[in-house]
Symmetry: C2
Subunit: 497 residues, 2 copies
């Protein structure tokens, strides 16, 4: 994919294209990339002119070009707005248009992830979803890979399709690892996947059909919302508080559905919830499972971020003994993001169905990296790495919390784990816009099932230790406070307890 | 996954379980594994008794156990049949049951693939879908992997998410490779995937919704039928002749659908079609594209098997210049099955949508193996490997054809490429059943969208050179000819020209 022109970079005043064309091209790119949402307002003409050091006339010319391209629309006395549903229509014709136009992805679907792949100017990314590369242990990975790619073993792992459930050695090692957090799963109950994302995809595709309702945490992970929406499912957001989901609200959502349209599945992050960092108490976990029993729900427990959690925190799958729980996790957030190794552990009765869906989606998964990770687990290398990262993260968290508070931010949930859930007091989409090109942040709107303004943002404690970021954020906040006063977005604090 | 008890192996007469229990357990396993289809008839009591050298009384006791377990049903004067829809009910309860029971996979979905993972007794598998491991070039792969996993490069490929469209070096190399078969695709039009299976999955998920109609070749690849069915799509099979699809039949299928339910997509293998080995002529390719234009179809061209084809054979994506064609291929059938690297090349207007679906299904793909394959392409290693395999395959094909014909089989399509489409004269599901435990064959029923008897089977020329296989097959054919005469299955020969 082409890199987008960096929005914050200065215009090229000696280029063949005019300044208006350059400005139009940048917005057009971001609209196509969906980092600017349908319905989003472009900066005012005056603000845009100031930002690019051009005359208002140049900006009007640029916006006129976007109008002519059908990318934005003018609303009387309110300014220019990105047209809704644009991706369904963009240059499409015929079959593909009709086929896909009917169900465009929510705009926030991939904006956050796309951001992850486009580090602005190489600076740390406070909105990053993973550990930064220099916190990971390359020699450990190189050693493990070398270990499993000697001649004959490389052949056995590469030259024929592996076990459709995944490399048996890794599944054995995972069964032992899961026992360590109280989850009693046989290797035969474990299926490896292309990262935890693939595991969640397999589970929902196997068990639900288009039109089915699914309960999810809100705030929560936008990729999960986007996938469910893309599969045609009805997403029912359950407010997630600091001590667990709002069970009364969950009951109301279930009661509110006609009997044959009741939700069958609840997807949740129980430990170090993304983005709030909250974890279920033992009592809350028990209540969730009681409700699941009463309402005949299957619970999908996404445990992706929990390597860095204190070991005593309860997993739903441990309490429930994998009866009506499917456990999902992976190695992207602790060891190696781009080997794409994840897994699920499921009730025995569901395993075959998940293996079948895996076969239909990717046939098998690469055994080479799975075996390398088995080696890491078998030799205790993961455990030691986790200990080193946890110590480093504790220090980073303490420093980041000080910086955030010194620059006028508060924490909407107690700081824990990798992510902080920060209240900035102003709409964080506006802040993301203002900082774009310098710092990538993850605005709160990306953690809601339905797009709406939010004063919250998610930060990564490991990548938010640069005081320059917090100063830039404070400047942007102050600039936006005036405009904000007139029409303040609803604060999300209530949602998280 | 547990290995199934090998059906052809003798019963254990000193075991703690009775002979009836052992026979029942073997059938139960195969029903659960779905290598015995819902609706399939169990052997007659007399035949089963003969096969296992037990008394008919023992067989009746075994079948009674299967009846009691709800796995089979007795039909008056016709015998015992595997119960339909069994997987939807198997030990299920509650949410998952209701959710998934409504749409069980077709039974043939994974039977063929499961077979690939369970080589019977280590003998060559005539029904195998890939090149056998000892035809592949392990030193070539080991060298490429070593080349890209030196310290810094391993870090760049592993420690952060890669480009969501896939490793740029591989996409550049693929663009050059595609130019070699006349397909003019920029690297920006190429998206890497977890094997070609994943590419096909991404395309259908992105462009269609449950209930949509899809045109497919018949005979064709059962995993494709199964995936479409699992996604809730209506599969419209188009008879595939030796010189291309039956366009008149395709028109009738389109005309026969109400206007708003017309198919939008046609999925086809244009070169070295699986299982017939047929390739489109230039004229036929032109006509397919004319029909696609007239009927506003998008064509998905699965070019997975074409490495071994003569270079002059036309691709639809070449003629069409990727206007209304999506091209899909991969490396599993020529270089390395279990690295799981495939790709698609698409019209520019569709690329973003496919990248988004990839993000929602697996986030990214592993850059390590993608870079190793880029190395192979850049240094001409793939091309030289293909030349060696092609020469070896030509010899294997000649030998296999001689053996097949000497043992009374005919070829329903001229022998070409990796697969032979062999007419045995008797129902090949019965043959597969009779040979089970000794030889894995791919019965013709697995290549039909709707399960029905077929006298055809697909063989892999590289793995069918063992004269013992052809002798065993001839014996089995003769045994089944008598029973066959009364109710011969429709021969499929008409379908393939």
């Amino acid at each position: 994919m082409d890199r987008p022109p960096v929005d914050g970079a200065p215009l090229d005043r000696r280029a063949e294209s005019t300044l208006a064309e350059q400005i139009a091209a940048r917005y057009a790119h971001r609209i196509r990339e969906r980092t600017l949402a349908g319905g989003a307002r472009l900066p005012s003409v005056r603000e845009c002119a100031r930002r690019h050091a051009v005359s208002p006339h140049t900006v009007v010319a640029a916006y006129d070009q976007l109008l002519a391209q059908g990318l934005v629309e003018a609303r009387r006395q309110r300014g220019f707005f990105v047209r809704d549903g644009r991706m369904g229509d963009a240059g499409e014709s015929g079959a593909a248009h009709r086929a896909a136009g009917a169900r465009p992805l929510p705009i926030s679907a991939t904006a956050l992830i796309r951001g992850m792949f486009q580090p602005p100017g190489g600076r740390p990314m406070p909105g990053l979803g993973t550990l930064p590369a220099d916190w990971l242990d390359l020699p450990l990975l190189a050693g493990a890979l070398r270990k499993v790619s000697s001649g004959a073993q490389l052949g056995a792992l590469s030259l024929q399709y592996g076990d459709p459930a995944g490399e048996p050695r890794l599944r054995e090692a995972l069964a032992r690892k899961l026992a360590g957090v109280g989850v009693d799963a046989a290797a035969a109950q474990i299926v490896t996947t292309v990262g935890a994302t693939h595991a969640l995809d397999i589970v929902t595709r196997s068990l639900l059909r288009a039109g089915d309702a699914v309960l999810v945490d809100e705030p929560g992970w936008s990729v999960e919302y986007a996938r469910l929406a893309a599969l045609g499912m009805r997403v029912l957001p359950v407010p997630r508080g600091d001590d667990g989901p709002d069970l009364a609200a969950m009951e109301r959502l279930i009661e509110g559905s006609p009997a044959h349209e009741r939700p069958r599945l609840y997807v949740t992050v129980s430990v170090l919830h993304n983005p709030t960092g909250a974890s279920l108490s033992l009592q809350a976990a028990h209540k969730v499972l009681q409700l699941a029993q009463r309402r005949d729900l299957l619970v999908v427990e996404d445990d992706t971020y929990s390597h860095l959690a204190p070991p005593h925190l309860p997993r739903l799958a441990a309490l429930d003994a994998l009866e009506r729980t499917v456990y999902v996790s992976g190695f992207s957030k602790i060891l190696v993001p781009n080997w794409r190794v994840g897994y699920l552990a499921a009730p025995a009765r569901l395993v075959d169905r998940f293996v079948d869906t895996k076969l239909l989606s990717t046939l098998t998964t690469p055994a080479l990296t799975e075996m390398a990770l088995a080696h890491c687990l078998e030799h205790g290398l993961l455990r030691r790495h986790v200990e080193r990262v946890a110590a480093k993260l504790a220090a980073a968290r303490a420093r980041t919390v000080r910086l955030a508070e010194a620059h006028g931010c508060t924490f909407a949930a107690p700081p824990r784990g990798l992510f902080g859930w920060v209240d900035t007091g102003v709409d964080t989409e506006r802040l993301a816009e203002a900082l774009h090109g310098d710092w990538f942040i993850a605005p709160g709107a990306l953690f809601h099932a339905v797009h709406r303004p939010s004063t919250l943002m998610r930060i990564n404690f490991a990548t938010s230790q640069d005081a320059r970021f917090w100063r830039a954020l404070e400047r942007a906040r102050k600039q936006h406070t005036t405009g904000q006063r007139r029409r303040a977005p609803a604060r999300d604090a209530a949602l998280i307890g």
